[in-house]
């Protein structure tokens, strides 16, 4: 038996700008167990419901995460619309789907960059982020913001995208698709990249279910789970297949996310072709009274929203379970038995967003 020791990983670590702490129990260089602990950036956004009214909370919900900000705002609005029995105009559903898929695109490109940075491939990191920048420009042209979009409102969306803007976006995405294909081919084919990803951090489908993993983590273990298939927004009109992989390792997680980049581009194309010409929001009056549960597929996985209202302008309860929180137990499982040098990379493969997790 080798020497046993406990090495702390984080909360400050060069690989992640966000604070997550892991106590790694090592035997020589091999990780025997990883004990995660969180709670370093708790901001108490959920309890702001007692100070901000339910309309202002849209802007607070958006600020839960800097990457999935659109989806957080959207899910909060969906929950309130469900409580208040508001029918959202179809065009608003389509616009939300387009912006949602653009969020997925930029989140996955960001993740690919971070992954490349994690294994020390700096130029690949810069290329991924160069591509992501164009998506951010598209966001700024359509919503007015690069990170926080503030276009969701209870009852629809606040800004419309005219037909020529949508066409221009599709043209830009067509051009980008070639470049993304060139860049992602390196992730999938390069010898050095593969040596860091293949057969590392294996989690079987059975374990992923037992640990309650969500999103690409689950799909990379061969489990077909995607909340978009529940048909919220415009997804029931869109033709797409859930991307899964049976390899169960870090390479599979990379493969699934790369597949989803191209799938998102395809979904945006389908939305632009089918978008109906209706109003973009309905006027909502009255106070919410009731309870709602919403599940949406964010880039990192399934997010769960629970909102309870009591007929006043302040909500009773607002609770979010974000994908990273659900993936932390699965992360602890993947770390068991890995080499110490692979820990930063494995933490990255769940696409951690700690600010989301702690809200």
């Amino acid at each position: 038996m080798g020497n046993r020791s406990v090495v702390p990983f984080g909360p400050q670590h060069p690989v992640l700008p966000e604070p997550v702490h892991l106590d790694l129990v090592l035997e020589d260089e091999k990780v025997l167990a990883a004990i995660p602990s969180i709670g370093f950036v708790h901001r108490g956004l959920e309890s702001l419901t007692s100070k901000k009214d339910f309309n202002e909370m849209v802007y607070v919900a958006e600020r839960i995460c800097g990457i999935c900000s659109f989806m957080h705002g959207m899910s909060y609005c969906m929950a309130l619309e469900d409580i208040m029995n508001v029918e959202v105009p179809r065009r608003a559903d389509y616009l939300r789907t387009i912006w949602g898929e653009m969020s997925r695109l930029h989140s996955h490109l960001l993740w690919l960059g971070l992954l490349a940075d994690g294994f020390g491939f700096e130029s690949l990191f810069m290329h991924s982020w160069r591509l992501r920048e164009k998506i951010l420009d598209m966001f700024e042209a359509s919503t007015g913001g690069r990170v926080i979009f503030s276009v969701n409102t209870i009852g629809g969306v606040l800004k419309d995208m005219p037909a020529d803007m949508l066409k221009d976006f599709v043209r830009q995405l067509d051009e980008m698709e070639k470049e993304i294909r060139e860049t992602t081919a390196i992730f999938l084919d390069d010898y050095t990249v593969k040596s860091r990803l293949v057969d590392i951090g294996i989690i079987s489908g059975e374990d992923a279910i037992r640990r309650g993993a969500v999103g690409p983590m689950m799909r990379a273990s061969g489990i077909n789970v995607d909340m978009r298939k529940n048909g919220y927004g415009a997804y029931n009109d869109i033709d797409f297949e859930v991307i899964t992989s049976n390899k169960c390792d870090s390479y599979a997680r990379c493969e699934v996310r790369i597949g989803e980049i191209f799938q998102s581009i395809d979904i945006i194309r389908q939305c632009v072709a089918k978008i109906p010409d209706t109003e973009i929001n309905t006027k909502v009056t009255g106070m919410p009274n009731g309870e709602s549960i919403i599940r949406v597929e964010q880039p990192r996985g399934e997010a769960f929203y629970h909102v309870r209202a009591n007929g006043t302008k302040f909500l009773d309860r607002f609770r979010v379970r974000t994908p990273t929180f659900a993936n932390i137990p699965a992360l602890a499982q993947t770390l068991q038995g890995c080499q110490y040098s692979d820990v930063p990379l494995l933490v990255l493969t769940i696409d951690p967003c700690i600010s989301c997790t702690e809200r």
Partner: protein, 131 residues
């Protein structure tokens, strides 16, 4: 296992292509029309109703009806645009151009030339004839 040096094609491309970044301070960034940079007010149509002050999530806007001023602390503003949605006169708008950083927070104040309508004179009630 994998291809050897598949990145070389990109490397060659990089050598002979334009940089992806701009020469920032010399070439200023152009913002799209919809950029939410800062809140502007058309002071002539403001009626000092205070809807923007009550709806502002961070509480950056202050409306003083007595002193006839509308003020905003741009360092607190989160550019969400909720005030522009709520404004009944649509005199608030969000335009490109961010607040520049500075050593101390200051409040931007506008004097609003709004005159509240004088209460209408009471209609003369016919006095009951004394007969």
């Amino acid at each position: 296992m994998g291809q050897f040096l598949p990145f070389s094609k990109q490397v060659l491309k990089n050598l002979f292509s334009e940089p992806a970044t701009t020469q920032y301070p010399f070439v200023p960034r152009e913002y799209p029309e919809r950029t939410r940079g800062h809140v502007d007010i058309d002071k002539d149509s403001c009626i000092l109703c205070g809807m923007c002050m009550r709806s502002c999530p961070p509480g950056a806007i202050k409306v003083d009806r007595a002193g006839k001023t509308w003020s905003i602390n741009r360092f607190d503003c989160i550019q969400c645009g909720y005030c522009t949605e709520k404004c009944p006169k649509k005199c608030l708008s969000i335009t490109p151009g961010y607040q520049e950083p500075g050593p101390e927070k200051f409040v931007y104040m506008v004097e609003v030339p709004y005159e509240p309508p004088k209460p209408a004179a009471k209609p003369a009630t016919p006095t009951p004839s004394q007969s």
